[in-house]
């Protein structure tokens, strides 16, 4: 559909094969064109996921690293098998996601010593995340190999021992490290020791291993920052019979076949995306040949393919996958080159549509170019373009978006619509490790946001608008129930964030248990609905001073004076505890301009400036911070 010279130039690299891409990358690097080289490296990785290409990509990124804006992240692997060949695949995938991953590997089967010894190389490495990748045959050899010898009591006691081992590893690890811990659960053997009899008895081999896995899941759920990687399902998904290479296991302790190495790397990457915040909050979808088969403007309502039968079912499946994302708190939006009326007719009235207009938080159905539309959608939803994912069947559109708005995650769709739903389900940018109440209600929250904007256009003055919102704020100290959301806000909020200090759940729990440190959350409701928990403040007392370590507010409520209400509470709190002065840093980033004037506009004075930011101070005995009359504030007691 799209034409013109720019599209021609853009698709140029699309014609290069793998060998030509490598040459072109080296040519660009010699000329010092780091950004362009990194785009082609991404294209190369999308085309070819092999060990050989991964090694090439890693070595080139290691040279380009200083010129690119990559997020450093440290990962340790405690393992009972060879993982070395997986590491270049994982690092290549990480570079593709703008993560510069440093990997530390424990010695073989040394996970117990590494965890128990506080001076071990594991803790010396100071990882951000640790993967505990041990296998059934190593940690439960009796259940893996000798199952036929065991009576049911022995099976139970073996299972209890294994779960007890994991429990003690996790507790000891947590006592020494705040890093995230990802535990591989236990795989079942490809063929059970007792054959089909295994399915007939109460505690067969498969059931015994599944029970261990259920208890591991419960063990992880009890703790913060401990997660399960369902290794058993990973193996099953790719075929147990084709997963292993017994020759490699016997010779070099590598259990899986060469073709499966990348499946492990991809599964690890699915955890790294949410851990590093490299996730999409919104997926922007095309309509023709993406949400349905055919072109609505030409084929009409009766002509497009969409429904529960072949071939429309492929598009139906994609809609189901998108609906699943919606339930996970990921917003949906439309960007389509179409006549608005044609498109709306199909969206509203086609019997095969699983998605309805109300599922979409924003729509750009016009003939404007997609890069521009994506920027407009990000602005409308009040999120950065780096939080958008883009789904379009047309490779030219994808290429245009990649080069014009490289921050957007472009989902690669296969040419056959049969694979569309799976491409969405397998994309790591939609992965989440925790789901807060807010995530599940996000779609409704944005609907209310649209209603509020309409109201803002109808009332005469700003103050009238604030009054008409009837805002109620509830401020509460940290509770166990709010911890997940609070950590999520500190780690994901980019715009109204004064210091951009990122904290994990464990770090917050630990800070708050130290004397003089408090953490508060704010929840905001108005006449259009509950915005949920939208803000966090962390304060620290030192003598007669109170310092605001962290103050973040979700973009959902920016510009409605909630920040003033929150600051007014913080000032009262500080005064009550005997502080004379309230201070706080503003540390600028590329995204937090909305918070830049916060301290100045509340009569703070600049005290100190270093290379990173400005320290502001308010004399609490001289200047009050009054709460806006239109925000009704209630303060709750915590459960601590």
């Amino acid at each position: 559909m799209s034409s013109g010279t720019s599209a021609m130039a853009l698709s140029q690299s699309g014609r290069l094969n793998v060998a030509e891409l490598r040459q072109e990358i080296d040519r660009l690097m010699e000329r010092g064109e780091a950004t362009r080289a990194s785009h082609l490296l991404s294209e190369l990785w999308t085309k070819d996921n092999t060990v050989s290409t991964a090694t090439f990509i890693v070595s080139r990124y290691e040279q380009l690293r200083p010129k690119l804006n990559l997020l450093p992240y440290r990962m340790a692997i405690l393992r009972s098998f060879t993982v070395e060949p997986i590491v270049p695949l994982l690092r290549a995938g990480s570079f593709h996601a703008r993560i510069d991953l440093t990997v530390h590997m424990s010695d073989f089967n040394a996970h117990v010593q590494e965890i128990l010894d506080p001076k071990s190389s594991l803790y010396g490495f100071a990882p951000d995340v640790v993967f505990l990748a041990v296998q059934t045959r190593d940690v439960a050899p009796e259940l893996w190999r000798d199952y036929a010898d065991l009576n049911s009591e022995q099976v139970q006691s073996a299972a209890t021992r294994v779960v007890g081992d994991f429990r003690s590893w996790v507790s000891n690890f947590r006592a020494r490290s705040k890093a995230h811990l990802i535990i591989h659960n236990l795989e079942q053997p490809s063929v059970p020791s007792c054959g089909i009899l295994d399915g007939q008895v109460a505690n067969g081999q498969a059931v015994a291993i599944q029970q261990i896995n259920r208890r591991l899941q419960a063990l992880a759920a009890e703790r913060t920052g401990v997660y399960i990687l369902d290794y058993d399902s990973l193996v099953a998904r790719h075929g147990r019979a084709h997963w292993h290479d017994e020759r490699k296991w016997l010779t070099v302790r590598l259990p899986m076949a060469a073709e499966n190495l990348n499946h492990v790397a991809k599964e690890w990457l699915k955890f790294l995306h949410p851990l590093t915040g490299k996730v999409a909050k919104t997926v922007v979808v095309d309509l023709d040949n993406t949400l349905w088969g055919g072109v609505i403007g030409e084929d009409g309502m009766a002509g497009i393919e969409l429904g529960t039968e072949y071939p429309g079912v492929y598009f139906h499946n994609l809609q189901r996958a998108l609906l699943d994302l919606h339930q996970r708190g990921i917003l949906l939006a439309i960007c389509s080159k179409n006549n608005l009326d044609d498109a709306l007719e199909a969206l509203k009235n086609h019997a095969g549509m699983l998605l309805k207009p109300s599922h979409f938080a924003a729509m750009r159905i016009n003939w404007t170019d997609k890069a521009e539309n994506l920027r407009a959608i990000a602005e409308e939803l009040n999120i950065g373009v780096e939080s958008l994912a883009f789904l379009d069947d047309d490779p030219t559109e994808c290429q245009q978006v990649r080069s014009q708005v490289p921050e957007v995650f472009v989902i690669d769709l296969p040419s056959d619509p049969r694979g569309f739903a799976q491409a969405v389900r397998e994309s790591p940018v939609f992965e989440r490790l925790v789901l807060s109440e807010e995530d599940q209600r996000r779609g409704a929250i944005y609907q209310a946001h649209r209603d509020r904007q309409e109201l803002a256009q109808t009332v005469a003055s700003r103050d009238d608008f604030y009054r008409s919102l009837q805002q109620e704020a509830e401020i509460a100290p940290l509770t166990k129930a709010s911890l997940t959301r609070i950590a999520q806000l500190t780690s994901k909020t980019n715009q109204f964030n004064l210091t951009s200090r990122r904290y994990t759940e464990q770090q917050i729990s630990e800070m708050v248990s130290s004397p003089g440190c408090d953490c508060f959350s704010i929840r905001v409701r108005d006449r259009f609905g509950d915005n949920g928990l939208v803000g966090v403040a962390i304060t620290r007392f030192e003598g007669q001073r109170c310092e605001i370590d962290t103050l973040v507010l979700s973009c959902r409520v920016i510009g409605r004076t909630v920040e003033t209400a929150f600051l007014s509470f913080i000032a009262d709190h500080a005064r009550k505890l005997g502080a004379r002065r309230l201070r706080g840093w503003f540390l600028p980033t590329t995204k937090n301009a909305p918070a830049r004037d916060f301290y100045a506009s509340h009569s703070f004075t600049p005290l100190e400036q270093n290379g990173k930011g400005i320290l502001w101070e308010l004399n609490l005995s001289q200047v009050p911070v009054s709460c806006p009359e239109w925000v009704k504030v209630t303060v709750r007691n915590g459960d601590r």
């Binding site: 092999t50 050989s52 070395e84 060949p85 076949a257 060469a258």
Partner: protein
């Protein structure tokens, strides 16, 4: 000597061992190339398995201790099916 297959093998070795192709000859081996350690050897074997869609036997892996010998093992494998 330089058949298309040989060039494919050399191309993979070039990537995995992180060397320019000109430095890799038929005689190159772990003895002559410093970066060719046991981990890189395993990576090289796996990269070849991915490239040629086969799985090598332990005996074959033992033999694959120079570019030339890797080339012959791969050639045999492709001729006799895997």
């Amino acid at each position: 000597m330089t058949s298309p297959l040989f060039e494919r093998v050399r191309g993979i070795a070039e990537n995995v061992l992180k060397l320019p192709g000109s430095q890799i000859t038929a005689q190159s081996s772990p003895e002559t190339i410093a970066s060719w350690d046991s981990v890189q050897h395993l990576n090289l074997i796996l990269a070849l398995e991915q490239e040629f869609g086969c799985q090598f036997e332990p005996e074959e892996i033992d033999q694959m201790n120079s570019i030339d010998r890797i080339h012959s093992v791969v050639q045999n494998k492709l001729n006799h099916g895997s």
